[in-house]
Structures are given as structure tokens and as C-alpha cells.
Amino acid sequence: MGAKTKKTTGAKGTAKKTAETMRAGKARGIAAAKKSPSPKSAPGSAQASRRTRGAVAGETVSADADTDEDLLRLRASTQSVFERLRDIDPDALPSDKTEEYWRDRHIARAAWEHAENAAFEILVDQQKQQLPVVSASNAKLAKDVETTATVIGVLNIVSASLGILASVITLLA
């Protein structure tokens, strides 16, 4: 029971930290899962259960995450935890471990999705920072198009004016 509580707290910690990362743009104390054995190499319900625990509880790696690279690492580590949980066949788990497995899997997935959003948010922010530059280029381009049209327009106006002037002179003569 103690192990179970510890495990769940660890997974929730990951999700909470991911949410904090989203809000502050920083992640402090990223929880990364310890590598678990390959499910193919050790089938069986007992080993599967241990894998569940190992994948979710894991060891905590502290890291300063104030750049998008940290967020990308966070995304990768949360994805890795979720993938390892998914690799476990829930049908092979003992019935008393099934609910726990699905709870952990839900927490791991939510953490991964939060991390994906946080990493993408940084990218969208970078796009937003470039918005004035793109807008300025669009405006300059529109001005270039307008100037060209104006030059042609002026040429046409001059031509028309000279034509009118010629007609007036002829009439006056």
C-alpha cells in the first residue's frame, strides 16, 4: 500500500510539475521515469506489475528547465513513461492491479499531453514574437504593389491630360 501511494504521488507529481511548466514556462524538478525492462523480455503478471511501478514511480531527475529544450526533454520523458505503461498488456495483470494500472496510465498520459502543450506553447510564443516583423513585411509589400499601380496610374493621367490639352489648343486655334 505504501508503495502504491508513493507510486501514485510520483506520477501526479509529474503531471503537477508539467502544469506548472505550462504556467510559468519553466519546469523545476522534472520527474523522469527509470528505465523499465522490456515487456517482451519478461512476460508475466508479477513482472508486469513491477514494471508498472517502476515506470511510474521512477527516479526523480532534477533539472532547471527554463528553455524550450528542457520542455522538449520533458515531453520526451513523459511520452516514454506513457509508452512503457502502454507496452504492458493490462490483460496480463492480476485483477487487484488493474485499476491501479489504469489510474497510472491516465496520469502518465495527462502529463504527456500537458508537456506536449507546454512545448508547443513555447513555439507559438516564438511565432507571436515574429508577428510584427511579418506584418511589417506584408505592409511593405502591399506598399510596393500600390506604388507600382500609382506609377502606371500617373502615366495614364499625364497621357490623358496631354490629350485634353491638345484638344483644347485645337479648339482655341
Binding site: L141, T148, S159, L162, L165
Partner: protein, 328 residues
Amino acid sequence: MKDVRRRRLSIFTMLSPDWRAMFDAGDAATGSRVFRLALLFLVLALSGCAATNIQRAEQLGALGKAYADAVSAAGDEAMASTIGFSLEEIRKERKGGAFKTADDREKAIVGEIDILKKRQSLVDESDAQVALLGEYFASLEQFAKQDVGASVETATGGLTDSINKLGTAIQNNPEAKATLSDSERSAIAKLSGAVARQVHGQALARILERDATMIGTQLKLLSKVLATYAAWIGARNEMEIKDLYRDNVVKPFVASGELPAGWDRDVRNYLQASNLSEQLVKAQAAGQRMERFWAGYLAGDTSVSGMIADLKEVQKLLDAISAYRKAR
């Protein structure tokens, strides 16, 4: 008369001394022929340079717009893939007993909706930026396509015509001859058209030079956005393939007894999905190729056909993924 014509046509000063001498020595007809020949050479020389710049800008505009559209379409597919995957997962989690009480279930679904809402708003924001860039490229293409040369040619034709009318009116003589002959008027109009095309080409080259940094930065960002979308789709696709393989391909076959009726179809689905997953790597790499293309373009490489083919492939892949997702 010749002197007047010479003063009025500044182009004459651009002719070589030999040609000018020939013009001076010869009769008006010879001079006019030389004059038209010189104009023809100038028109040809100017047209060549202008065409390259205009074509480059037009192709880049079309390519940039197609790229922006492809990234936007990838965003739609990535979002659809995310929603489908998350809903299927939360359904399984609910069935597996992840949420014991009604309160837990409510928290879970509210949390899930929040994540998806957040993602949708981020994709929308990104799409808006991508659309702005697409607008830039579309304007560039339109500006390059604009036949400035023809418009100026027509306008100049009208202008010389008006000058002739004015000259005739000032002379106040019904039998007075026009200052410029028809052939000269036509030659001047053509030259002005060619000059305008050249100016247009140079303007486009200047625009590309001016905006090179912005385009480079945007292509880098688009490349990252495309890679993100491809990663979202790819990761979910991979996970689903694993499930499909384990639960629908291997398990039924390993079990004793008759195979389920849809087993063959599941194996085919698995093979198709695996193939799509491999191709997704190409989509991720398309952004990086676009960045390399831009570097090459700035260095003078005008070939865009490879990149256009790349984008068509990405579009086809997105269509295939969408069709596969809808068919499941």
C-alpha cells in the same frame, strides 16, 4: 526635324558613336531603322534579366503559400488525431476503473477537455501566424504575376500619342506631321515596357533581399511547427499500431481455436498503418529540406521543382492519414 527628334529621344544618346554617325549621315529611313534596331537590342537585353527575377519571385511565392497551406493542413490532422486518440484512451481508462467515483470521473473529463481546448487554441494561434505568412507569399506571387510591363507599354503608347497630338495642335497646321512616327511610337512603347519589366524584376529582387531574414526565420519556425504536428500524429500512430499488432494480430492468432472473422482485415490495417508511420518521417524532414532550400535559393539556386514535389508528397501523406483515421 532630325535635331528635334534627337533631343527629344534620350535613348539616342545610348547608341554607340558609329551608329550615331550612321544616323547623322543617312537619310531619315536609315536612321529610323537603326533607332528601332537599337531599341530591339535594349528590349531583349532588359527582358532576359527581368524574366529571371520575376520568375524566381513568382515560384517562391507559390511555393511559400503551398508550404504554409501544408503546415496548416498538418495542424488540422494533428488535432484530429490527438482528439481521437485521447477520447479512445480516456474511454479505456474509464472502463479499466481508473476513476472510482463520479467525482473522479468528472475531474478526469474536465481535465481532458481542458487539455484539448488548450491545444486547439494553440493550433489556432499558430494557424493564424502561418496564414499571415501565407498571405505574404500569396501577395508576392500576385505582385510577380502582375504584368507591369504590358500596363506601362499601353500607358506609354497613349502618352506618345498624346505628345504627337499636342505637337500637331501647337504647330496649328492641319498638314503638320506628327513628331513621332508610328513605328517610333511603337518602339518607344515596347522599350518602356521592357524597362518597366526590368524595374519590376529589380523591385521583386529587392523585396526578397529585404525580407530574406524574415522569410528564413519563418521557414525555421514553420519547420518546427510541422515537426511538432508530425510528432503528435506519429507518436499516436505508433502507439495504436502496437496495440493493433498485439491485440488484433498476434493475440487472436496465438490463441487456440478459430480466428476471428475480421482478422485478415486487421492484419492489412496493421500493414497499412505501419507504412504510413514510416512515411511520416518524410513529412518531418520536409521542413528541414525547406530550410535548406531557402539557403540554396539565397545562394542563387532557382530550382523549386524538388521542393514542390516534396510538398505534394506531404499533402498526399496527410490525405492518406486522414483517410485511414476516418476508416478506422
